[in-house]
């Protein structure tokens, strides 16, 4: 695979994993807020 294409793949993967972890964190925060509301 060409060097330029490897770079694009790496950037896309890092962007996706970063975004995924951020959404996962927001999801957990919402769950925590719902749990506190029940208490």
């Amino acid at each position: 695979m060409a060097k330029g294409l490897s770079f694009v793949l790496a950037v896309t993967l890092v962007t996706w994993i970063g975004l995924f972890l951020y959404i996962l964190r927001v999801d957990l925060k919402v769950r925590e807020a719902e749990r506190r509301e029940e208490i």
Binding site: F20, I23, L24, D27
Partner: protein, 218 residues
């Protein structure tokens, strides 16, 4: 929590496959790989706008405010995915046509669509009374959706466009390499899962904020 984790692994696999497994597209070269992200984003935008219209019709029939919140969340997600489709389309356009933006009928119609839905959020922010806001924005969301098939499917086919078409209307064929098709369908499923996950998070957050506001006003 298992669903989001499967989605994370699934989409990571799609990204890797789109670069390592999928072949370069005929005539479009390596830039053709963006189809795996661009088309599913556009599909989710249409789906979310359709759901916003369904929720709005539901609100107009039953007058329940939770339907208005669902319509708002769907319109927001539709706009996010529509922006993603616009940006990926512009990146492809730079590689294929030499310019990020050249007012091709596809680009013009998607810009008009974004402005129509931007007006929906402006309308919402301009009204304070929740019932009036819900009623007016529901009417607007229903009317706005009528423009979606027209702007996404009809206008680009009426006017001459350089935008490639997956479906050949003249001989009703669908030309795509089998390996490319597998990655494309996997991406379509992944994007739909991502939309469902984002919708679920956002609607729970909106419901939480609504209940908090109700408690405060008691």
């Amino acid at each position: 929590m298992l669903g989001p984790l499967i989605l994370g692994v699934w989409m990571t696999g799609v990204i890797i496959a789109s670069f390592l497994y999928m072949p370069a597209t005929q005539g479009l070269g390596v830039m053709g790989r963006i189809i795996v992200y661009h088309v599913p984003a556009a599909w989710i935008a249409v789906l979310a706008y359709l759901m916003a219209m369904v929720n709005s019709l539901g609100y107009l029939r039953r007058g329940q405010l939770h339907l208005d919140r669902q319509a708002q969340v769907n319109a927001e997600l539709g706009t996010v995915f529509c922006l993603l489709a616009t940006v990926t389309g512009a990146i492809w356009s730079r590689g294929a046509w030499g310019q990020y933006w050249n007012w091709d009928p596809r680009q013009t119609s998607i810009a008009v669509l974004l402005m129509i839905y931007a007006a929906y959020f402006v309308l919402r922010s301009a009204i304070d009374d929740p019932d009036r806001k819900a009623r007016l924005s529901a009417v607007y969301a229903v009317l706005a959706f009528f423009t979606v098939p027209f702007l996404v499917f009809i206008v680009p086919r009426i006017y001459f466009s350089l935008h490639p078409d997956l479906i050949n209307l003249s001989d009703r064929s669908f030309n795509m390499d089998s390996r490319m098709l597998k990655v494309f369908l996997a991406s379509l499923a992944g994007f739909t899962g991502l939309y469902a996950w984002l919708y679920k998070i956002q609607i729970r957050l909106e419901n939480l904020l609504y209940r908090l506001e109700m408690k405060r006003s008691e």
